[in-house]
Each structure stands twice: as C-alpha cells, then as structure tokens.
Symmetry: D2
Subunit: 341 residues, 4 copies
Amino acid sequence: MRAVRVVEYHESLQMDDVSEPRITGPFDVIVRIGGAGVCRTDIHILEGQWAEKSGVELPYTIGHENAGWVSSVGDAVTNVAEGDKVILHPLVTCGLCRACRFGDDVHCVNSRFPGIDSDGGYAEFLKTSARSVVKIDDALEPADVAALADAGLTAYHAAAKAARRLRPGDRVVMIGAGGLGHIGIQVMAALSPAEIIVVDRNPDAVKLGVEVGATHGVVATGGHVDEVLELTGGNGAEQVLDFVGEGGSTAEGIRMTRRAGDYHVVGYGENVNVPTIDVISSEINIIGNLVGSYNDLVELMALAAQQKVTLHTAKYSLDDFQEAVDDLSAGRVRGRAILIP
Amino acid sequence: MRAVRVVEYHESLQMDDVSEPRITGPFDVIVRIGGAGVCRTDIHILEGQWAEKSGVELPYTIGHENAGWVSSVGDAVTNVAEGDKVILHPLVTCGLCRACRFGDDVHCVNSRFPGIDSDGGYAEFLKTSARSVVKIDDALEPADVAALADAGLTAYHAAAKAARRLRPGDRVVMIGAGGLGHIGIQVMAALSPAEIIVVDRNPDAVKLGVEVGATHGVVATGGHVDEVLELTGGNGAEQVLDFVGEGGSTAEGIRMTRRAGDYHVVGYGENVNVPTIDVISSEINIIGNLVGSYNDLVELMALAAQQKVTLHTAKYSLDDFQEAVDDLSAGRVRGRAILIP
Amino acid sequence: MRAVRVVEYHESLQMDDVSEPRITGPFDVIVRIGGAGVCRTDIHILEGQWAEKSGVELPYTIGHENAGWVSSVGDAVTNVAEGDKVILHPLVTCGLCRACRFGDDVHCVNSRFPGIDSDGGYAEFLKTSARSVVKIDDALEPADVAALADAGLTAYHAAAKAARRLRPGDRVVMIGAGGLGHIGIQVMAALSPAEIIVVDRNPDAVKLGVEVGATHGVVATGGHVDEVLELTGGNGAEQVLDFVGEGGSTAEGIRMTRRAGDYHVVGYGENVNVPTIDVISSEINIIGNLVGSYNDLVELMALAAQQKVTLHTAKYSLDDFQEAVDDLSAGRVRGRAILIP
Amino acid sequence: MRAVRVVEYHESLQMDDVSEPRITGPFDVIVRIGGAGVCRTDIHILEGQWAEKSGVELPYTIGHENAGWVSSVGDAVTNVAEGDKVILHPLVTCGLCRACRFGDDVHCVNSRFPGIDSDGGYAEFLKTSARSVVKIDDALEPADVAALADAGLTAYHAAAKAARRLRPGDRVVMIGAGGLGHIGIQVMAALSPAEIIVVDRNPDAVKLGVEVGATHGVVATGGHVDEVLELTGGNGAEQVLDFVGEGGSTAEGIRMTRRAGDYHVVGYGENVNVPTIDVISSEINIIGNLVGSYNDLVELMALAAQQKVTLHTAKYSLDDFQEAVDDLSAGRVRGRAILIP
C-alpha cells in the first residue's frame, strides 16, 4: 500500500510502497484511512525535535489525527465491526493500569502513540487497537472529523472540565481563538450556560470566536485584561482557559481569574510564574490539561453528530502530501489540512 | 475592661482600660474571652506591615484567634445563647453575597476581620456576629482550642480538600510539620486512608509528624525529593500539601506530585515558577488554599471533641501579654502561646 | 393598603384595607408587589388543607410567588437598595443553621413561608428579608417572572441537578410537560447537551415540550415506556425527571432509567414501590427534589435574562383576584395567572 | 486436576478430575487457587435458583470468591506475572464498553461471571482475565482474603460511596452487622470521620459491630428507630446503609435518614415502598449499590494490607467441600468458610 514516511530527519517525507498491516492479535483493528490531519507536530518531527523523545526507528509512517473505516478486526473485538466509520483516539492504551481502569487512559503507563512512535495514518491503512476506535455517526465523514482526533480532543477535554464548574450567570474567558480555541468555544457553548468572552490578538480570530458562540469578543491590544475585568464586574471570570500559554498570556490569564476560580493551562510555551501569596489570598487554582480520554472523544463525536462542533478543512489527495505540508508551513491553510488516500 | 492595644506602630502593645462592648444589633454576640492565640501576624501588625492593608485606626485591640463564653446576644440570634462555650471564626461575614450563600464565606465581599481591622480578642470581651460563633463540645476548653481558630482552620481546610480526592492505597505528602503542618497531619489521618509522608528540615518536626499520624518521615537534607519518589514507586504522590511555600519548597513539591495529582499551596513566600509544558504534560493542578469556612470550623471542632486533633499550648495571663510576645519573637514557645484574661 | 386575605376556610378570599408593613429589623426589606402568581396551592389553602400544617392565624394575606420593587430596607441590608427590581425566594431563612451555611437554605431549620404561614403577596406591599430578595435584570418585568419564584424554581432545581450528571450523547426523559415540566425542559436545554425526550399524555403538552427544547416527543398512550426504551437503544435514559408522580408514572419512570442512572421525584401523589432487587441489580438511584435554593433562583433569573427560560402568563388586576381564582379553578388559565396591584 | 462441580440441580456437588485450563488468548491468566469462599449463593445454585438466569451448561465448576497465585499468563498481560499473589474480581469484563471505559466495569455490557455462568474456583486452577486479577500485598494470604472478593467488595463499594458524602460531626447508620455489615463498618471507620451507629436484631452482632469500629450499638427490639433518632438529635443520620433489605428494614432505614440525606440499599428482599411526598418534602435519596468495581477491589486490598479490614474465616480442605457446604447450611460457620485445594 502507499504510505508517506519519514526516511531521515531534516529530509522531505517520501511516498513508499509498504506491505499492508495484518491482524495478529485479538484486539487488533485495521482501519482504511479516510482522512489524516496534517499537524504542526508533523513538521517538528521532520525537524528531529521528537527523535529522542519518541525513539522511533526510521523509516516510519507519520500521521496522528486519523479517521476512516474498519477494514478488519481481531477475534476479541466487540465494539466495532468491518465497515464501521471510526475516528481514532491518538493513543493505544493498555486497559490494565489503574489510570486506564478509571477512564483516565491518557495517563496510561503503557501507551503507544501511532504517527509519533509507531506507524501512523498518512497511508491507506493503519493498524490500531479496539481500545482506540470510536464509531462515528452515519452523517459524519472521516475526512471532516479527522482533525478532531487530537487538537479538537484537547480543546474538548479542557472546555468540558471547566464547564462542570460553571453555572448560569458565570463567565468564562477563552484566550486564543485559533485551531484549539475555536473548537473550545463551540464545546463551551454546547455544554455551559456561562457567558463566553473570547480574547485574541487577531481581530479575525475574535470575530470567528463570536460567530461560533462567544458572547463577547476582546481584541488583545494592551488593555484587554482591564476590558475583561470590566465585563466581569471587576471580579474576573470564574473560569479562564488559556489556549496560548506564551507571550505573557499566563500572567494575564491569572489576572482575569476570579477569587476561587480556575485558570486552565492548555497552550504552552512560557512559565507560569506567580507569587504564592497571590495563589492563596485569592484561592485560585491553576489547572493542567492534556489531550482528552477515549470517553471524551466519544462525547466530542456526539457533539459533532449534533452539528454543535464543526471544523473548517482543506482537503488534499494523499499523493499531494508535500503540497499540504508546504501550505501548512507557509500559513496558507485555513482551518485544518487533511490528506485523503 | 482590660484590653491590650496597638497604640502606635513600632511601639510596644499597651494594656488599657476601655469600655465593654454592648449589643447594638440583632445579630450581635458578645463573647467573654477564654483564650486568645498569640500569632506571628500580631508581631507583623506592630511592625506596621498591615497598616495600609487593614486601614485600621489606632488605637485598637489586637488578637484574631479567639474562644470563650457567650456573654450576651442580640434578639435575632438563634444559634447560641448566653453561657455557651464558643470558638470564633476569624471573619465576620455578610451572609448575603453569593459566596456566603454557597458556604464559601471566606470569599465574602463584605467581611470584617476582628483583631486585624477592628477590635480583637486580647481583652476581656469581644463583640462579634452570630455568623462567627461556633459552639464547642463541653469537653473542650476555650484556651485549649483558641489557636485552631485561624492557623488550625487553614490546615483543616487544605487537608480536608485534599482528602476528598484520596483513596486507599494513595499517598499524600505534607511539606512542613510546624504549627499548621502538624494540625494538617492529624486532620489528614482522621479523614483519609492514604499513607502520609511528612517532609521537614527539622528532624524533631519530622518525629512529631510521625507521632501525630504520618506513615513515613523524611528529613529534608537534599535528597528528600528522591526519597519521596522512592516511597511512591517513582511516581510521586496523588496529593502534596506545602505548608512552607518558600526556600524552594514549591519546585520540590511539584516534583513530588504524581501525574494528574494536586499540589496545594498553603504556606507562602516565594513564587510558583513552573514551565507550562510540565503542567500540561503531567496534567497536574496547583491548588490555592485560604483559611477555612465557618462550616470547616464546625467540622474541625468535631474532630477536636473526638480528640482526633490536639494542640500543644503555652498559657499566659492576659497581664503577661508582653512576655508572651517576647517568647514568641525569641522562638521560646513550643506549640502556641495563649493569653487568658 | 389593599390586601387579599383568607378570612375563614371554605369562604371566599376578601379584599381588605390593612396597614402597610414597616421596617423593624436591620435585614428587613419591604417590596412593592409587581406581580403575584396564583397557584393551585392557594385554592388548597382556602379549602383548609394547609390549616393545621401552617398553623397560620386568620385573617392573613396569601400569595407565595412574588416579584416587585424594593420599597425600603433595614440598615444592615447590603444586597439590594430602594427601587431595585426583585423576585422573592419563597422562604425566609435564618442564615445561621448548618444547612443555610452550606447554601442548602431550603433545609433551613428556622424558616418562614410568606403566603403560607405569614402575610404574602396578594397585596400592594410585602415584608421579607434581605436573604430572600434576588435582583433581576433590567430587561425583566416582575409580573413576567413572578411565577418562576416557586414552580419555576422547583423545576430549575431538579433539572440543574440532573444536568450535572449528563454528558454529550446521553439522554434525559422529562415526564410531564405542564407548568413545571415545560420550565424544566427549557432549563435542561440551556444547561445540558443531552437529548431530551418529553413524555406526556396530552399531545399539546408534548408539542409544547418539543417547541421549547425537547429532541423527541412521546405521547403517553400505553406503549410509551417501550417507545422511550427504543429511543435509548433499549437501555433507558441516564436521567429521568418525573414531574407527575402519580397515575403510575413512578413505576414507568423507573423502567425508563438506565443502569446506574437516576430517577428524580419532583411531582408527587402516589408511592414509589420498587423491589430492592431491582434497585441493586441495576444500581439506580431515586432522587428527591424540593424547591430550589436562593442561589438556584439567582441562576434561574440569569437564564430568564438571557431569554433561555420564558413563561406564558395571564395577567389580572389585583382587584380582579376572584376572577383569577375562578379561572384557575375552571382550567381556563393558559400558563400562569398573575395578579398585578 | 480436582474440581468440585455441579452435575445436576438438586443433587450434591461432586469432585471430578478435569483437565487443567490452558492459556489460549493473550489476556488469559491462570490462577492456582489458594482459597475459594463458600457462599450462600452456591447453595442457591444447587437448588436451581440460578439455572435459568445464568444459562450455564452442566456439569461446571462452582466458586465465585477466589484468590491464589498466578500460574501462567497470556503474552499481552502486563499487570501480573507468574507467582504473583492475587485476588480475583468476580466479573470478567470486556474493557471496551462505555461503562468499562469509565471504571464502572460492574455495568459492563459483555461480562462473564466465573463460578456462576462458567467454571469457577472450587478447583486447583481457574482461568480468568488480566482485567480481573488484583495483586495483593506480601503480608496477605489468599485463603484469608478470598471472601473479600464478592461479599466484602459489595460492602466496600457502598461504604466508600457513602463516606464521600460524610464530614466530621456527621452520623452514619449501618443496618445489619453480619457478613457484609461488619466489613462495611470497618471500611467506614477507615474512610470517614463520621460517628457510626450499628443496628442489628442480634445483640452479638451489635457487639461485634462496636468492636470493629462503630461508635454506638443499637439492638433492634422495636424502639430502635426512635433510639437512632435520639442519637442523632432527632434529625436522623446523614447516611444510612441497609445491609438487610427485608423484614421492614427499608421503611425503618428511610425513617432514620436525615433531610437531604441518603438511604443506601445493599441487602435485598422486600420492596422499597415510600410516598413520593415523603421523598420530596425531606429531599432524600434512595441509592442503589451493586458489587464494587475492579478499582474498588484494589482499594479494599490496600485497606486489608494495612490491617484496617479483617475477616474471620473457617478453613476446609478442598476435599472436604461437602462438610463446608453442610456447615454453612446448618449455620455452623462463624465468619466465612474457605476451601483450600
């Protein structure tokens, strides 16, 4: 089958002919790829940034945001069958450790990450596990939802966690209305009655944020912390989600957080650097957020099926993988680039 | 009546004869003081550190850790009656704001802090509100529990919050086994089945920590983070409570925190300074902790009545206030100094 | 002032001239009534059904669903001021008992119920407490929201409690789309992403339920339990709210509840009668629901201000009180009858 | 190997020689039995009560409370290794359904129940799944803990759920201090600071309840509901756990439940039959409890290793199975009968 592979770091990806994956274990699932998201992480992989961390042996097939159709299954698989439309949770987890047993499979102590440390989805077929496949609604197409598998799932996880602490009359600030943020806003509008305040440096992003569900838009031009405080009666918001995590957003986000509220770290880059006296005197919490669990992905797909979360995509044939990567590098992609075998 | 007052910053406290407080409102409660804790904050007040923040007019009576007997009550008071033994919540709160209405009275938007911004308890009588008095068990004496009103209540609040997330087989680290920490350990042992690991630079404090309920004691001499990791299977603890908050304890505490765990800020001094990538990749939370609520104080008094939380005190006559302050300044007090009118 | 009073049980209500209430305590609030809901309970009072339970002395002014404008306040009142538009929580609570201190003021051990056990709102003015008044948005009118004070608040309380356990892809059944139910559906649609299935014997009620937010409507004509099971993949719904509580709805509601799900009792009349083996083998919970708390009412008013919850009302002048009562008795009121002084 | 089997309903169990189980799947685990609990359910099975429900084909090996040593494992097993001491969760679950993915594996839609619907543990070896084996502490012996696998796990599950809602000063009633109840009391004492009130008709059981952790003992001789009300200030207890579920205990338990409290059904037999008006006016909850999850069993084993939960056992050689069954039938077993191959 055709597969796009990393053959050497600092070199271009290469289309190869490789053998199709085969079922060898009872929980194996082979998926015919319907769409594979092209992510900035893929470019970082080519630059060698993940070489040591992943320890992957070259050559290998990249692509960690995948959806498609089940092609074959091992004999112990009960949750999907041949022909089912599925999206793939980014991790293949053990199901046996305490984290997996609590549904926090993201903290699995024995996980594997296809597309990062083993063969991924820039290919015709991908082998994964029954534990990683989520059936999607008939009305959804793999190529349309593939990018929700990782970026969207992270946004869902943070927004759903914050929503559980919000009540009518509360406010939530979403810092950053880019790829993750604009999914996060849609999720928040679906799950919570709180007023949503979107903050971004880019006026177009703010506009998009308001279109997809935010109540107020604030363009970050210097006075935005004060503007948020004014919109929240001088108190700050009960929940603040920071999809940026750099360029000063952490200190700003904390200043926007109300007494006894939560500041969520989602994006990353800089340090959170805050006096302990400020943490205790306002009794705020700084909440970490990683990618969502398998069950989170099931829930996100329910929202997608109800058309409460949608995503703009630019589709490329798998053969045009280089063009997709080039377009992403050059900032020419609006929404998410998707490869279709 | 006799009252010990701040007459001028940077001068000694002074015993004065002042008029006794009188009931003027329906929720007023006048308490005959049975014990008033002498706290390091009292020394900071004399040094003028609180002058601007509290805005209190001099002279005024200090003392914010108080217990005694109800002497008289306003006509709307239904929760206590003359003669009742009581401990005083440190704040006088409004009962009307949203925080008060949720039981988070510590975040009251209209609170008063007797002993800090109005007359306190180094005196024969103190006027407070029905909302601030907690009846204590017959078996408890005001002078024995007074110091639980503020320091103990803070430790209770943090330990009870952490205990709600702990299950059998989990571990909790308590950094610092001093005034707050050794109360926190007793509370944790009463509320949680988790193994308690106490960490302190002072071997005597570690010993005390183990005596009052810790499972393991670790003297902080440099290798203590590794020692905690070893005691927790290399993973760190599910909950870490930092009663120190300075001298590097925040970074150490975060290193001791397990994936998806909570690091609690209780003590303060330095900055929490942590890369956002570390917050998200391990998905930890940094949890602020202020003093406990009124209901927290009721619960702490239940534990005290069951003798699950005890406190070492050094008692002084109110007339000997200067000796108590001097002993505290010189580090000669074991446990907590209490003034008894 | 004019006030409509119960002068004798089993006799008609009577318009009297009584003296206006005056501020006597620091937390007193006098409200000029803008609207008072006419409730079936008022008819039951006249029939003497509440005589023993309330112990109220006749004559007294009835009316327990009230909204209006603050006319004057006691000197300790900080949460409202003269002229504020307010809705009144049905209970006047002490603020001092443990339940009040946790925000569960409905379980206050010292509460009073104006309109039931003391003078209510079929009058020009009503005296209540600062603890019972909730400011409403400028865009809302007292006469339009008065009926949310009791009936709406009960529906909000149950729906909000159930919503906290619902996730995308889950289903919730609402049995009964009458007065409470159609508010409950609106609340559920605002707070939860779950699919809402409304069940009612009345096809018009089902139609209204779907109009105000339900995903599926089921007319209860005998096969409705099976119909709900079919809509839920044979499993039943994660949450079932029963606004009826009689005529067999409890057994039906329990059959509609999924394993590990919750069946909420809101309406009442018959017994819940269920084998313990069924409770444990499916591990369901049967959840009681009383009227909402003060904070619940604040949240409901936030939803009303956002126009997410609306109510149909039929307005009558206070002088036409008899006509309103007669219309209600005869089933001629669509929505809720409101008296306007 | 030797195995004790059901050959025909209404006939005695029979010792047979059967072939040892072999590893055939990657998650298989074969356990050498160290102890198998003899349970009243085993007698009911012989009486044919489970014949239709389980659908098991005769002959088969019974025994559903098992512990022992891992004898061999499939090639995907990562959580245990040959020689590990283990206790077995009673269910073999799929790990793929939504319930399993949330840690609620007891609600697995594809589970199997060895000893009930497939070969169990009255034998030298038992084949189970990696998902069902919990490693136990070196200090524990399989024969001593086997009976915690089902009866103890049910008691743990209910007590741990109730403990999460209890705070210092609260009270919990445990109705029934027999097999499950006396484990439940030990668990409650380990997890909660609440006062424990044990109620039983048998004075010896009450005495045992107090010995293992209850604060107050009440012998049920008619006035016990009033006695409990008196012990709880006339209010009833915040949590009531009913390990009996028959003979009037459900109505009594509900009368002992405080406003806004929880009544837990654990034991079963009669109907819960309660007016809806009582459920709503006191806003109580009736909570179902099934056996605990895998993670619950891990936690119970942590308590057992800390000697916070112990169990009295009467040990029999596997060859003496008939004597054990006869002793149980005749009420001659104190604690739990255990077969040891």
